[in-house]
């Protein structure tokens, strides 16, 4: 039977058996993450420890075992097939669950390949549909030719205007309508100027977790610290620690950036964008213009110096506000961003939209909040009469106030009949351009302090998140709301 004939998928089929391997692997990974490290610590180091750790390990292991068995049985009870113009997926061990997806509701078809997929020559098959409720379908492993054939079948039978008809090969051809590609040098650059505090935070959490676990096992880390001979060593260790900390976070940032964005190509397709990226897990995400709700770009101090931004295209998604549905590009420059904006908002130029400022009491309030944080810190420092802590509190206060001031200075908003433009950021910059007619609902909120001054916050919710303009005059917000409602209600275009 030919793969391309409709009949091939008319009989219920199972996924590739690789699905079992994937499921087992997934469970194992969770198991290792949750159990193995505590287990090693427990066995190697734990003599004084009690038995609770062991019980916990047994508990988690048995749950994992059950879920592994479950997924294997589930594999043998799951089928997919095509009837008429519907894709049907049956699954479930106790009750049978039948999911049917009419072709015309399919919004996008995406493939994904992890390293395991690649070894066994299979693909993850993902379908996103419109409407509320359960909107995503995922077949975790299909043989490549089956995946291609099924995709072709769905494409041939659905509305061509809705679906991205260009080839969804895992490697896209960068020569047609390339917007940007990142080579290894670009990635190194982007990785170097990542926000190292975030990577540093991850390390900190890990160390803290390790420390807490050691404590539990009965090793008191402070004992060792106490035995450190002299203060001089302490200071040296402290600076070495900071250096090491910075270096490790740098390496982690670099590794993360390269793994995630390796061989990135960002191209313009007929009516949308497409991106392929990833070293171990290759991923192709496509986004049609009408599904993109918001374009956002931001930098930090380091990125600003070399003139690159993180660009984000936020898509409407069934599971709202999830990053995985967004296209994120590190290391886009301003020309790229302008190009993307021109495609999405051909009649508008975000740069020429004049921006208004929010009320100065926004600044006043964040300064008050900074002081609220400062007072107890300072109080404690004075109470213990610790000069270092006092100095640290004052520095922290100055930092917070500087940040509030910058944030207020940079905050601005403006709109045309198509787009709402928001600018912000404290040390870095943030820009948001969102389609007004794609708004789902609008909210005005007011706290007691704002009421005294006649101010409100105005929020626009769309299918990929929300944008808020804080501290604007009530009258102004009301007339903006009137105008935005008029734009939303008089527009017949597709918002998703």
């Amino acid at each position: 039977m030919s793969l391309n004939s409709t009949n091939f998928f008319a009989t219920p089929r199972r996924q590739s058996p690789v699905a079992i391997i994937l499921a087992v692997f997934k469970t194992l990974r969770v198991l290792i993450r949750q159990v193995l490290l505590p287990f090693i610590l427990f066995v190697v180091l734990g003599r004084k420890g009690n038995n609770y750790g062991m019980y916990f390990i047994v508990f988690v292991s048995s749950i994992s075992l059950i879920s592994m068995v479950y997924s294997i049985v589930n594999y043998y009870r799951s089928y997919y097939y095509v009837v008429g113009k519907e894709l049907i997926v049956i699954s479930g061990i106790i009750g049978k669950k039948r999911l049917s997806i009419p072709f015309e509701r399919i919004q996008s078809i995406n493939f994904e390949q992890s390293i395991i997929h690649r070894i066994f020559g299979v693909r993850k098959f993902k379908i996103d549909t419109a409407g509320s409720g359960e909107n995503e379908l995922e077949l975790s492993a299909l043989e490549i030719n089956h995946a291609e054939a099924l995709r072709q079948l769905l494409l041939n039978n659905s509305l061509p205007s809705k679906l991205n008809t260009s080839n969804s090969e895992l490697s896209i051809n960068p020569s047609d309508n390339n917007i940007l590609s990142l080579d290894i040098i670009d990635l190194l650059k982007a990785g170097l100027v990542e926000n190292h505090l975030r990577s540093g935070g991850l390390i900190f959490v890990f160390l803290w977790w390790l420390y807490a676990n050691l404590q539990e096992i009965g090793i008191n880390a402070e004992d060792y610290v106490d035995r450190m001979p002299a203060v001089a060593y302490g200071a040296a260790l402290f600076f070495m620690g900071i250096l090491l900390f910075l270096m490790i976070s740098l390496v982690i940032s670099l590794a993360r950036t390269i793994l995630k964005y390796y061989n990135l190509h960002f191209i313009r397709t007929g009516k949308g964008f497409k991106i392929s990226q990833g070293l171990l897990n290759t991923k192709v995400i496509s986004a049609l213009d009408h599904k993109i709700q918001t374009v956002a770009w931001s930098d930090n101090l380091l990125k600003k110096m070399i003139g690159i931004f993180d660009l984000k295209l936020k898509q409407a998604s069934s599971k709202t506000v999830e990053n995985k549905e967004s296209i994120i590009i590190p290391g886009a420059n301003y020309a790229h961003i302008r190009q993307v904006c021109r495609y999405l908002f051909p009649f508008e130029d975000p740069d020429t939209v004049s921006l208004d400022k929010v009320d100065p009491s926004y600044l006043r309030r964040s300064i008050v909040m900074s002081v609220v944080v400062f007072v107890p810190m300072m109080g404690l420092a004075v109470f213990y009469f610790n000069y270092a802590s006092m100095a640290a509190s004052v520095v922290f206060l100055v930092f917070l106030i500087a940040m509030s001031y910058l944030a207020y200075k940079k905050l601005g908003y403006g709109y045309t009949r198509e787009i709402l433009v928001l600018k912000g950021g404290a040390f870095g910059d943030k820009h948001v351009v969102t389609s007004i007619f794609k708004t789902q609902s609008i909210k005005i909120t007011q706290n007691p302090f704002q009421r005294r001054r006649g101010l409100v916050n105005l929020s626009l919710y769309n299918a990929s998140g929300s944008e808020t303009i804080p501290y604007i005059e009530e009258q102004k917000a009301n007339s903006m709301l009137d105008y935005f409602l008029y734009l939303v209600e008089s527009d017949q275009r597709h918002w998703m």
Binding site: S132, L288, N447, N462, S490
Partner: protein, 185 residues
């Protein structure tokens, strides 16, 4: 339908001017209050909780002798707290209200922290009328509107009469179905 993905403004051909001053104004809206029984239900639930707390306090005082001389203070505090919350409830009940226009529905709620949420009919994906056991006792119902904007942008109007809820639902369905068929062609 080729207009689906058209990025140009819709009325590019019939581009008559719309004066911003002519747009329907938020300031002119008269909000409809919600059903009084909801206030009674809320007050009833609150007073039940506080009665239980009072009972607990009294029992505690009988069991622990050292606490006994604080008993009146604790009870007074409890009653004061109840009064405060009841007052908030009455105030926020009076503030609450909804309004239905030709193209959207508005709902304002809260009292110290106030919110107004507006959902255009052409963005509503799903409608639900809910009626719990207590609602049924007091002949109340609530109407839930779902959009694609996520749970924080969805709208739930509590304290409607069942007929009100059904009427609003029917009105919105009638308004939205025309748009719906437009799109799903």
């Amino acid at each position: 339908m080729e207009t689906n993905n058209e990025q140009a403004p819709v009325n590019i051909h019939s581009n008559e001017q719309i004066l911003l001053s002519d747009l329907p104004k938020l300031d002119h809206i008269v909000y409809e209050p919600i059903q009084k029984p909801l206030l009674y239900v809320n007050l009833l639930v609150t007073s039940m909780v506080f009665l239980m707390a009072m009972l607990g306090l009294v029992i505690l005082n009988f069991m622990v002798e050292e606490l006994r001389r604080f008993m009146w203070l604790m009870l007074a505090g409890n009653i004061f707290l109840f009064g405060l919350i009841a007052w908030f409830e009455i105030k926020s009940f009076n503030y609450r209200g909804f309004a239905i226009r030709n193209h959207d529905i508005l709902y304002k709620y809260g009292w110290l922290w106030r919110s107004l949420i507006v959902v255009p009919f052409n963005r509503i994906q799903h409608l639900e009328i809910n009626q719990g056991p207590i609602d049924r006792m007091f002949d109340l119902a609530s109407l839930q509107l779902f959009t694609a904007g996520g749970s924080s942008s969805d709208l739930e109007i509590t304290g409607l009469s069942p007929t009100q809820a059904a009427d609003i639902k029917a009105f919105i369905m009638q308004k939205n179905s025309s748009i719906e068929t437009d799109e799903s062609e």
